[in-house]
């Protein structure tokens, strides 16, 4: 079979990711724009990825959209849920993965894969945004920091200032009152990460923890959250280099499987 290009679009609530895959095996290009559904983000991500690969839209056999904005993603041929896509993406990046944790902009997911990489069950957070990427964004804003600064601050902590509220709004007030007390910022950041980890860990435990555990999604880039989650689950967590692109990668694989079935 000639090279077939499939394109995955992961349109989240805060970012848009695009990845082009060659015959289900080789990543041709990828792009990430920090603007999600309802913005210019999806279009820009698509244009950037095509540009990087030196391709045009018509060179691509199938565009598969996933993520919160999948239904309104421009130019998509079909959609797939982010659950299936993160499972496919994680399996591609780390074939032995059995449990996948994905914390995105407004939801958290725990996925169980069988030894062949097939998604067999999953759990998601409820409607509350606590323990998601949005929670970390809100906290970073209160601390007058960038989300990308949080991991380094966490690494400097020698203790922890616990955050007990599970509600994002109440936790924000709690962080503000801790700031007013003059607590150490790194220790406060560690407390914020612990809060996310505790909430996510309860989801993963309900599903059942089977090693190896892999983390995908934007929050996986935050080593502080990963460390806190490792501690909570008492198991090492592997983070692939393309963790944040796992959903888009999975969508491209989904498209490739669709093409293969049709042939």
């Amino acid at each position: 079979m000639d090279d077939v290009l499939t394109l995955g679009m992961d349109v989240g609530s805060t970012t848009s990711k695009c990845l082009i895959l060659r015959s289900g095996a080789e990543i041709a290009a990828a792009a990430l724009i920090p603007a999600g559904t309802g913005t210019s983000g999806p279009r820009r991500a698509l244009e950037e990825a095509l540009d990087k690969a030196g391709l045009k839209r018509e060179d691509v056999a199938v565009v598969t959209a996933t993520g919160y904005g999948r239904a309104t993603c421009p130019g998509a041929d079909h959609t797939a849920s982010e659950l299936s896509c993160h499972a496919l993406g994680a399996h591609f990046l780390i074939p032995e993965a059995r449990t996948v944790v994905d914390i995105g902009g407004q939801d958290a997911k725990a996925l169980r894969l069988n030894p062949e990489g097939k998604l067999v069950s999953f759990l998601m957070n409820d409607k509350c945004a606590a323990g998601t990427g949005r929670f970390l964004e809100v906290m970073a804003r209160v601390l007058e920091k960038e989300v990308s600064d949080l991991a380094e601050m966490d690494a400097q902590a020698t203790g922890v200032v616990p955050i007990s509220s599970t509600c994002t709004v109440f936790a924000e007030s709690e962080v503000i009152s801790q700031l007013a007390k003059g607590v150490s910022l790194p220790e406060l950041v560690k407390g914020i990460h612990m809060s996310v980890a505790v909430r996510t860990a309860s989801l993963v435990r309900r599903l059942g923890v089977t090693a190896p555990v892999v983390m995908t999604g934007g929050v996986a880039r935050n080593a502080g959250v990963v460390r806190a989650l490792e501690k909570e689950l008492d198991t090492p967590i592997r983070v692939p280099p393309l963790a944040q692109l796992a959903g888009a990668l999975g969508a491209a694989i989904y498209g490739w499987e669709h093409v293969r079935e049709k042939r």
Partner: protein
């Protein structure tokens, strides 16, 4: 003149309307009318000829007709917590406003509460008794911590049953005719068996009907199962389903690609979104606890007491789990959808563990979504869609693997 044979759906709808109208007519004649909990032993009121109406059914209807948000918000403005059951909040709003454009029920002269459907309901009805200044009769059903209802429990419930009759005689001036009670019990058995027969048709592949129809038809199973008309309507319903099953046909729109257990009360306020999300993917509901929840099988008065203690919401966790697992396996489900009904503390409190054990015991994929029976503010269509799409993808992959 030959009367055209009517379908069960229209017979049930007409019967529901007639029962509601009977209560209004009685009220207008000056008779005493009660508000009644859905799993109260209706044999008492039916045998005594006392009209009752059901606030829970009103809450569901108001939710389905789009009034849930307005009524819930009004109740919250009165000081009731948003964490309370939305049926209760709708009812408190109605008790305050005295009107509701979606559906009205006659105001009560007395209240009949039975906590086998929900223990929190006692506080709901106590509050109503104070607000409306009407007497409350409670039948307290002890939680069942084992398989069977023992003799002590039967005696405890029977004493309250007898006391309830005495109180109702004093309030309404109507006497209990025990021969009539025996007749009503026999009719209730006929209704319950027919209801179970109709719901049991879901085990056919394809199921002869869309499982969401149960959410509509169960209203009569709740309010009218002691009437001959209800028994006949359910027998007609069962015959229709069985005839369709025999021909391999179904009233479900489209091909039944997947079969699921749907756990929990329907999202009345989001019925279209929840139904379409399933139906558009060829997913039919073929297992629900609503069969056993509104059928009470017994041979005599003592067994009647035991039957009301063995309803799903009053039984121990293990029994509840077993009911679901048994139904799911018998009706050959490919997956399960669990409604985290924020209104219902009885249901939502145990849902995570119910889902976990169900998943382990059946091996079928499951999904939990957030919602509410009548408060639309607890439901997110985008979140529901994501979960149902993912469940469908897993069920599809499982089918491919099995081929």
């Amino acid at each position: 003149m030959n009367e055209e044979k009517r379908d069960a759906k229209s017979v049930l709808r007409a019967l529901q309307d007639r029962i509601a109208q009977d209560a209004w007519d009685a009220k207008n004649r000056g008779e005493k009318v009660g508000w009644c909990a859905s799993n109260f032993p209706q044999e008492i009121t039916t045998a005594m000829g006392i009209p009752v109406v059901y606030p829970e059914n009103m809450g569901a209807a108001v939710g389905a007709k789009g009034g849930g948000r307005r009524m819930c918000e009004h109740a919250e403005g009165l000081g009731y917590s948003a964490d309370l059951c939305s049926y209760a909040r709708i009812n408190f709003s109605y008790a305050d406003w005295k009107e509701c454009p979606e559906l009205e029920i006659p105001f009560p002269d007395f209240l009949l509460c039975c906590n086998n459907i929900c223990n929190c309901m006692i506080k709901w009805y106590e509050n109503l008794a104070l607000e409306l200044d009407v007497p409350l009769i409670l039948i307290d059903i002890p939680h069942l911590d084992g398989e069977a209802c023992d003799e002590d429990r039967v005696k405890y419930i029977r004493a309250q049953f007898d006391d309830c009759i005495a109180q109702l005689e004093a309030i309404t001036g109507k006497r209990m005719d025990y021969d009539r009670l025996t007749e009503v019990m026999a009719v209730s058995q006929r209704s319950s068996r027919a209801w179970l027969r109709a719901v049991g048709a879901m085990e056919h592949v394809p199921s002869p009907f869309s499982g969401f129809d149960i959410f509509n038809n169960m209203a009569v199973a709740c309010v009218g199962r002691g009437t001959v008309e209800a028994a006949e309507a359910f027998e007609l319903l069962a015959e229709e389903y069985e005839a369709l099953a025999k021909e391999g046909k179904s009233s479900f729109k489209g091909e039944e690609k997947y079969r699921i257990l749907f756990e929990g009360i329907a999202c009345w306020a989001n019925l279209r979104a929840t139904y379409k999300g399933l139906q558009s993917r060829g997913i039919n509901l073929t297992a629900t606890v609503y069969g056993p929840a509104f059928s009470f099988l017994y041979q005599n008065l003592d067994e009647l007491m035991a039957a009301y203690a063995q309803v799903p919401n009053c039984a121990c966790f293990e029994h509840e789990l077993e009911l679901r697992v048994h139904d799911a396996l018998k009706n050959k489900v490919d997956g399960a959808v669990f409604h985290m009904n924020r209104s219902c503390k009885n249901w939502s409190g145990k849902l995570y563990e119910l889902e976990r054990q169900f998943r382990v015991k059946t091996g079928v994929p499951t999904v939990i979504f957030d919602g509410d029976q009548s408060d639309p503010r607890c439901f997110s269509e985008a979140q529901y869609e994501t979960r149902i799409q993912a469940l469908t993808e897993i069920m599809e992959a499982n089918k491919k693997e099995a081929r």
